[in-house]
Symmetry: C2
Subunit: 121 residues, 2 copies
């Protein structure tokens, strides 16, 4: 299951709070803390298959919400716009550095870069 | 209920697809199409109170998801960053217009403005 860690981490980041405590705990241990199914099972005193079932159901619940709402897709659609803004700010800085050396232009371009980074997190 | 139309529209925009068809229909007619409870009731052949109950339950369901996930809050937290980027781009354009008249700087600032607007929608 761990070959889909990025997708799982996104689902958990957006929809993790919709899960039950148990689903949340196992999902977090497995994908974020990188424990194995066996380790989680041993700690929880249940079977490896039991742990797997909880995690699979958690994933299905979150994926269902995403399939209906498309919210993660919407967030990810912002990325190319943010990249375009960041690279325009870089080019502004380069032009200013080479030709004008205007301190306020530098400040403004730096501000755009910083705000864009904040939006990417 | 209609004094909360902005909040309701946001909830519906993000989470409307999590509602049942009937919830979705009534909610949409009431908040987006601006029909009255009485008009919806008459069209649907049920009581005004019945319509109200469906809409109240729909709102509660969506608000619960938002209270848990905070996704709308997260989207709205982007706005000040986007506003800061847009106003930096405006100031860049003004400085360039007054002092440098550099066509490429104008293009880059315009691109930042356009990308920022796209992200605000």
């Amino acid at each position: 299951m761990k070959n889909q860690t990025y997708r799982m981490t996104m689902l958990f980041d957006f929809y993790g709070e919709l899960l039950t405590d148990r689903q949340k705990e196992f999902f977090d241990l497995y994908y974020n803390e990188d424990l194995s199914l066996g380790e989680i099972a041993e700690n929880a005193g249940i079977s490896r298959q039991g742990v797997r079932d909880v995690i699979v159901r958690a994933e299905a619940a979150m994926q269902e919400v995403e399939d209906k709402t498309g919210i993660i897709k919407r967030f990810e659609a912002q990325r190319p716009h943010l990249d375009a803004i960041a690279s325009a700010a870089d080019e502004l800085k380069t032009i200013n550095y080479r030709q004008y050396e205007d301190a306020r232009l530098t400040e403004l371009a730096d501000l755009i870069t910083a705000e864009t980074s904040a939006l990417k997190d």
